[in-house]
């Protein structure tokens, strides 16, 4: 019943291959075949951002996008950010600002904030609110997330200098 296909792609900097089924989502593939737990399904409808990963540098909803089409791409997940055991500046900023409670939405937010800062290194409040409006946090750590974005922007600037 289920057709499968072998796909080859880069996952967090490593060349990998997987036999995936036609209807298999990116989140399912990452959890079931690679044991990665950072991208997670919550709404399953592309509405909450808990499943966010990047494909060739673009954030996508892993609950809606099919693994089938990853062949030849480069995929990055929360597990792949940061270098050599050190946290990414956005991760550090989330800890310093206390930008989470239960943590279930956190990897999705962090992935999205990285993309936000790539596009807008110095975002104002309005830009941040709009950019992140597709990420939901039921614990409502929103005020702290706003602070974390500012902190992360400053950290990145310092690193770049």
């Amino acid at each position: 019943m289920s057709t499968t296909r072998t796909i080859r792609f880069t996952l967090n900097g490593r060349a990998v291959a997987a036999d995936v089924a036609a209807g298999e989502t990116i989140v399912d593939m990452l959890t079931l075949r690679f044991d990665l737990k950072g991208a997670r399904e919550s709404c399953g409808q592309g509405l909450c951002g808990c499943c966010t990963v990047t494909v060739d540098g673009m954030a996508v909803s892993g609950c809606l996008s099919m693994a089938w089409f990853l062949d030849g791409t480069s995929v990055e997940t929360i597990e792949g950010i940061g270098t050599g055991g050190a946290l990414d500046p956005v991760q550090e900023a989330f800890i310093e600002a206390g930008a989470f409670q239960c943590g279930f939405c956190t990897p999705g937010f962090i992935m999205m904030v990285r993309q936000l800062l790539d596009a807008h290194p110095d975002p104002d409040d309005e830009e941040v609110r709009h950019y992140l409006t597709g990420n939901l946090c039921r614990c409502s750590a929103y005020p702290e997330i706003l602070t974390a974005v500012k902190l992360a922007a400053a950290k990145r600037k310092k690193l770049a200098a």
């Binding site: 709404c43 409808q45 989330f94 279930f104 039921r138 409502s140 005020p143 702290e144």
Partner: protein, 764 residues
């Protein structure tokens, strides 16, 4: 105990112990758990709200390749002869048993090794129903002859429900009463009497980690891995269902991706247990976001409040008639009815009070505990009513509150005196942050601006017990064994701080062992703002017990007083090598006096008082009804803030959640069918909904004498007064009162049109 003294723990904004695991995505949730040989269960649900089941056809589903088994109540009865559960009433069947009582009720389950196959198979199941008339409205349900249950079946664990045993011919699951003074006489004496009715809608917790449980039953032993806020309760209730001793039921809980009261008592645990027994394999059920709306929700509430006053504006009598729509199964509804009933007259000093509070069955999804335990619904009524009275009497709204406010030491309606409850200071704090005494811009043209305040309080479920164990290892490092579930509130960190303070250890070095009922001792549950107070006290006692044992050891070793030898050295001295432990235990249950069975009066009805106050500014376009909350201030009395940052997060998180319940969230039903059960149609707050000015603070230097280091719970206080503060701001802007939540542009526009004498037609 260590050579260098660590910084004091209490009052320190220590980052969460598990912070790193959360930002790297590695933190453990049941969501991800897979066991070898595990089956996935997918639920087939009823599509009618009230019906007798004539037949269920599972043949096509069972025949689908890859399906392991399809299970109905008949299969479950073979392993659990009396498959009914519930914390207050044993009214809920593990799967529908001959009848369905709400649209969305679980009727059958497909088990398969592959989740997708289970999903496909569910679509092949059909059921034939003989539909029965449904009852959805709580007021109609009070007197209707449409009955949701034939007979009331209270659980033996609730002594105050025993009089309901075997009661027939009613949908009323609990009638709570409080009688103080003589309300009738009070009204007769009053110069003014006011009566208003307010309603709150049905809403849902929406934890981002949807409900999930895994059961592994083997040879009379059960292990449950479950996203539960109450592992001890789960163990006791499942052991009862299975007729097993507690030591054969092991319940393990890692971190939770949110709970908010939803993941309490039995949710999926009974079902996965039964399935694992039937299939003789581990079974996991994970709900989808849409399915969560059929698990548990918050009670709609219909509240009529009547007050009598002297001509000076002193409240002398109040009657509260509160009706809670509990849905098809009682869950913890009777406790909500009673606990929120008890404070439903508000934080005011009134000589004559009568309260009737009813839990009512209807054919809606079940309602249970949700952040605030009913207090936000009652405050919506009593604080809207407060403003309406002040306005009608021409008294300043703040002065009116001060004139009637319940003050320290004065008996609350139940007779329990107010103690360590900073109601007036919370109000003062709000007024200050709202710049209340300064002139206010009331808008211009079609934009009207208004502002409002409200205060509120709540009692805490009592009496409940927490037990803690502190274990100091041979090298002096420490682990804490507690049943409190960290669902995001930061309990691991706060409990480590309490232990660290007593043990003179760096809190960040303490390991907190997560609930595992084979290892961690009893705790009543992570609910109702009780953990910091109850478990915090137990942890403090356990740590003190350990310190006592260390002092004993020093004496035993003949060490001079004040020698301060590190524990590791003492243990080495005693055992001749790195060996041994010091184990401290603590258990805590607060003082409590059972309410009188006829009057509901008690001198000690709550271990502490949760207190919250709110202020709001709104901006409304009167041509469209569009509303913006431009400023929101929330203040709570949390006693001592053990971790000020964690407290701040609780206050602001709870406020935003309640903002959703006030402005957008509403489970909409048509003929008993939920029409908006998904995040696409049911809107929870996003970053764009956070008011531009948003202030959340605790009352400085508050102290609860019975709390650990003066602390009390913080998770719910800012939910209480928020809705009426916004409702009062709307009334201030428009001169028009909204009585029903949520406050939407449509409801504002309708109210404006009605006030103009040109009401819009109702859409059914």
């Amino acid at each position: 105990m260590t050579a260098t003294t660590p910084a004091p723990s209490i009052g320190r904004s220590l980052p969460r112990l598990e912070a790193r695991d959360k930002v790297t995505g590695r933190v453990e949730y049941v969501h991800h758990l897979r066991l070898p040989g595990m089956l996935y269960g997918k639920i087939f649900r009823s599509n009618v709200p009230h019906a007798r089941i004539k037949s269920i056809d599972t043949a096509a589903a069972a025949a689908l390749p890859g399906v392991y088994q399809v299970v109905t109540i008949e299969d479950i009865r073979k392993v659990i002869p009396h498959p009914y559960y519930g914390p207050a009433f044993h009214d809920q069947p593990i799967l529908a048993d001959g009848k369905v009582r709400f649209a969305g009720e679980p009727v059958a389950v497909v088990l398969a090794f592959d989740r997708k196959i289970a999903e496909d198979a569910v679509a092949l199941i059909t059921a034939e129903y003989e539909e029965l008339p449904g009852i959805f409205d709580e007021i109609e349900a009070m007197t209707s002859d449409v009955l949701v249950h034939d007979e009331l079946k209270p659980a033996s664990t609730f002594p105050d429900l025993q009089h309901l045993k075997g009661r027939k011919g009613t949908n009323i699951a609990l009638d709570y009463q409080l009688r103080r003074g003589d309300t009738e006489a009070g009204f007769a004496k009053a110069d003014h009497v006011f009566e208003h009715t307010f309603c709150s809608q049905q809403v849902m917790h929406i934890p981002m980690e949807p409900f999930v449980s895994v059961a592994d039953y083997q040879d009379g032993h059960l292990t449950l891995h479950t996203a539960s806020q109450g592992p001890s309760f789960v163990r006791i209730e499942i052991a009862r269902l299975l007729g097993l001793p507690e030591n054969r039921v092991r319940v393990k809980v890692p971190f939770l991706g949110g709970g908010f009261g939803g993941k309490l008592y039995i949710k999926l645990e009974a079902l996965v247990t039964a399935l694992s027994m039937v299939a003789q394999r581990p079974v996991k059920i994970s709900l989808t976001m849409e399915e969560q709306f059929y698990m548990v929700t918050r009670h709609p509430c219909h509240f009529t409040i009547k007050s009598g006053l002297t001509k000076e504006g002193k409240l002398i009598a109040r009657h509260c008639e509160v009706i809670w729509n509990g849905g098809a199964y009682a869950d913890i509804g009777p406790r909500v009815t009673q606990k929120a009933g008890f404070t439903s007259a508000g934080p005011y000093d009134i000589e004559n009070v009568s309260i009737n509070s009813y839990a009512v069955y209807t054919n809606r999804p079940p309602c249970g505990a949700l952040r605030g335990f009913g207090a936000p619904q009652t405050a919506w009524a009593y604080e809207s009513h407060t403003d309406m009275i002040a306005e009608a009497m021409g008294i300043d709204k703040v002065e009116f509150r001060r004139m009637n406010m319940l003050r320290e030491g004065r008996p609350q309606a139940s007779g329990t005196p107010l103690r360590d409850a900073e109601i007036e200071r919370s109000l003062d704090h709000i007024l200050d942050r709202m710049n209340w005494s300064l002139p206010f811009d009331r808008g211009s043209g079609t934009i009207k601006r208004g502002r409002g305040i409200a205060i509120g309080f709540k009692g805490i479920t009592a009496p409940t017990t927490s037990v803690a164990i502190v274990n100091l290892f041979a090298d002096g490092s420490c682990a804490l064994y507690i049943g409190t579930v960290d669902m995001g509130q930061g309990s691991d960190t706060v409990m480590a701080q309490i232990a660290g303070e007593v043990l003179n250890l760096d809190a960040a070095s303490i390991k907190v062992i997560h609930p595992d009922t084979d290892v961690t001792p009893y705790d009543m549950g992570t609910l109702g703002s009780r953990s910091t107070f109850h478990m915090g006290n137990a942890v403090k006692l356990a740590a003190q017990d350990a310190m006592g044992k260390i002092a004993d050891l020093a004496r035993e070793l003949g060490l001079p007083e004040g020698a301060n030898l590190p524990l590791a050295d003492m243990l080495r001295k005693k055992y001749g090598m790195q060996a041994g432990n010091i184990i401290g235990t603590g258990s805590f249950i607060p003082d409590y006096e059972k309410p009188d069975t006829t009057t509901g009066l008690t001198k000690k009805g709550t271990p502490f008082w949760g207190v919250g106050a709110a202020g709001a500014e709104v901006e409304i376009d009167i041509e469209t009804g569009a509303i913006k909350v431009t400023k929101l201030v929330n203040v709570a009395d949390v006693g001592t803030a053990i971790n000020p940052k964690a407290v701040q997060q609780q206050l602001s998180g709870a406020a935003i959640m309640q903002l959703g319940f006030t402005m957008t969230e509403n489970m909409v039903f048509r003929d008993g069918q939920l029409t908006n059960g998904s995040l696409a149609d049911y809107k929870i707050p996003t970053l764009l909904d956070i008011p531009r000015e948003f202030i959340n603070e605790h009352v400085p230097n508050a102290y609860d004498k019975d709390g650990p280091f003066g602390a009390k719970g913080a998770g719910e206080s800012t939910t209480i007064a928020l809705s009426p503060a916004i409702g009062n701001a709307v009334a201030d802007a428009l001169g028009v009162r909204i009585h029903d939540l949520p406050i939407t542009p449509e409801s504002i526009f309708r109210a404006l049109q009605a006030a103009k004498g040109t009401p819009l037609e109702d859409c059914a």
